[in-house]
């Protein structure tokens, strides 16, 4: 384990979070096609950053920085890390950032088709997942956890709950990305997708809420688990409020002369907070899998009863 690798992985995860914010700004400002070329903008790598080109080219610049950082992290991990699977994850991160860049270029060249744009936004969250995982796997807490905890209490396993929460959060992020890319600020949001996203919010609230409640009921004294659970609960609450605010602001925006700051701010904050809920849930899930010891139940078959023929 190297403290340097962990710090660098943390830096890449934070930079990726900033990149998600930069990308959300592009969508909220409807700046994705502010220039028709890629990778250059208006024929140059250093265009005049005016109008919406500030957001689109700014996003490309932050993405380039994250790409360079990811290359450095992948190499750093190969040099300093002993665990083969962590080394592999470093290469997967590199592959992810390259694929993400190509998807970004493709969606510009194809004039933002919904499927490609939504895939670009989804891969952003998956790449964020990888960087968070790398930061967790290289941390001291992961390599040498203080103690292991026995899974106690009846009912659904905490591991199952955590994985289910991650699955619904990721699905909700995909739905949110698709919803955002299906209509620009001056168009009404499609009702079916909006309802699906609201349904997703209810599912996330129920499943993540159950996960957090289970952690707090069974392992309140285990700070290693209780802390991310509490943070996830607080972020979820903030996220629900931001979702409602984003809906109100976004519903009014088609009648605005241009994307206005309140709508942009609240929708970008909603995307950013969604990424944070995801990140916290990833950390909680990984920690649960790391320290929670599940006793394998042995099922002993009852001795076969002799059936006597009548």
């Amino acid at each position: 384990m190297s403290k340097g690798v962990h710090r660098f992985a943390l830096l890449v995860a934070c930079a990726t979070f900033l990149l998600i914010i930069a990308g959300a700004n592009v969508t909220s400002h409807d700046a994705g096609l502010a220039t028709s070329d890629w990778p250059r903008s208006n024929g140059t790598f250093f265009p005049k950053m005016v109008g919406n080109l500030f957001w689109e080219h700014g996003h490309r610049m932050v993405a380039t920085a994250v790409g360079i950082l990811t290359i450095a992290l992948a190499v750093y991990v190969q040099v300093r890390e002993r665990r083969l699977w962590v080394k592999r994850l470093g290469w997967i991160a590199l592959g992810g950032v390259i694929a993400q860049g190509l998807l970004g270029g493709l969606t510009v060249k194809l004039n933002l088709p919904l499927a490609v744009s939504a895939a670009h936004a989804t891969l952003a969250q998956l790449f964020f997942l990888i960087t968070v995982c790398l930061a967790v796997f290289t941390s001291r807490n992961w390599v040498t956890p203080e103690s292991s905890v026995n899974e106690n209490g009846a009912g659904v396993s905490l591991r199952t709950l955590c994985v289910a929460a991650l699955a619904v959060i990721l699905t909700q992020l995909v739905l949110g990305a698709t919803l955002r890319h299906s209509a620009t600020w001056d168009q009404d949001l499609p009702t079916s997708l909006l309802l699906a996203h609201v349904g997703g919010a209810i599912a996330v609230t129920l499943i993540l809420g159950s996960t957090v409640a289970t952690v707090l009921l069974r392992y309140r004294t285990e700070r290693y688990l209780a802390r991310p659970a509490l943070i996830a609960a607080m972020l979820l609450l903030v996220q629900l409020c931001l979702g409602l605010a984003a809906y109100i602001a976004r519903t009014a925006s088609p009648y605005d002369p241009q994307p206005l700051t309140p709508m942009v701010s609240v929708t970008v904050a909603h995307v950013a907070c969604g990424a944070l809920v995801f990140a916290t849930s990833i950390i909680l899930t990984l920690r649960v899998f790391r320290v929670l010891r599940v006793d394998r139940q042995e099922y002993v078959l009852a001795p076969a009863q002799a059936v006597r023929a009548p």
Partner: protein, 294 residues
């Protein structure tokens, strides 16, 4: 590398992601019936008895105020157009400008449909869309299918011109200041094609595309004239951009030989698409008992 359970979860996540993406794709809208589609048809031969449709488009009630546009994101726009206002509702003395009026459908006196024809006398041959002062001139433009639209940039800044049609291919091109003019054609009839600049998101224009030349855009006095209309019965539509998706007002008219018919339209505060301060989306309608409805 992954356990059986992990593989199951990964598969589930991938399936859900693909499902949600798939459900959102493929929302195409129907083609407008003003000769929608670029099907070749017969040519109309003038008989010398064509008539005229004239009229005025008015706005009843208090006209919505134009909103100030914040151009501070690009100093070139601020210096050229320091007081840029929205052009959604241009109302002067109760008359509404920038309304696109066209024959949507109809039958000629000989029983043939207007949509059966693709060749007409006096078809316009070119139109110009200029980016000037960080807004489009004209704000609403009418063309016939495959008519070259010359796009010019008169501003000291780069624009991108982005046609966002439903039935024609999407088209987006950057045009730096001082660049040569560009030409674009729309091959399929469509009313109307929104045009925008993603660099300057307040810039909007609308292009109506028909197979015939029977369209007009109202001027500041709200008036329009459509000339050379063969005798027959037609549905004339006035389209205005007000609201998120625009508002249409249809009217049936009969054009007699060498005659002139008047078609006046009225938009107003109660018209569909009128903006309100906060408009909630009709996401869900709950059935209510009659006693709860007043």
């Amino acid at each position: 590398m992954f356990s059986k359970r992990a593989r199951m979860w990964l598969g589930l996540i991938a399936a859900l992601s693909l499902l949600s993406l798939g459900s959102s794709c493929g929302n195409k809208t129907a083609t407008d019936e003003s000769g929608g589609g670029d099907k070749s048809g017969k040519a109309y031969t003038s008989k010398g008895d064509e008539g005229t449709i004239t009229g005025k488009v008015s706005y009843t009630g208090a006209a919505p105020e134009a909103k100030k546009i914040d151009t501070s994101a690009d100093a070139a726009c601020t210096s050229k157009s320091p007081n840029l206002m929205t052009e959604e509702w241009v109302v002067k003395d109760g008359k509404l400008a920038n309304t696109y009026v066209y024959i949507k459908s109809g039958t000629l006196a000989d029983g043939s449909k207007i949509a059966d024809y693709s060749g007409w006398p006096d078809m316009p041959t070119s139109a110009t869309l200029d980016q000037n002062g960080c807004h489009y001139k004209p704000h609403v433009l009418g063309v016939v299918v495959n008519e070259p639209i010359t796009i010019t940039n008169s501003d000291p800044t780069t624009h991108n011109i982005h046609f966002t049609p439903k039935n024609n291919p999407d088209w987006n091109q950057s045009q730096p200041n001082g660049a040569a003019s560009m030409t674009h054609k729309l091959a399929v009839a469509e009313v109307l094609v929104p045009v925008k600049c993603n660099q300057h998101p307040w810039m909007k224009s609308y292009v109506g595309v028909t197979k015939h030349p029977f369209f007009a855009v109202t001027g500041e006095d709200g008036s329009f004239t459509i000339k050379g209309v063969p005798p027959g019965k037609y549905t004339v539509v006035a389209w205005h951009e007000g609201g998120a998706n625009g508002t249409e007002k249809p009217m049936d008219v009969t054009v007699s030989a060498k005659g002139s018919v008047t078609a006046d339209f009225s938009f107003g505060a109660n018209a569909l698409g009128q903006p309100s301060s906060l408009r909630m989306m009709p996401a869900i309608e709950f059935p209510m008992p009659m006693s709860m409805k007043h």
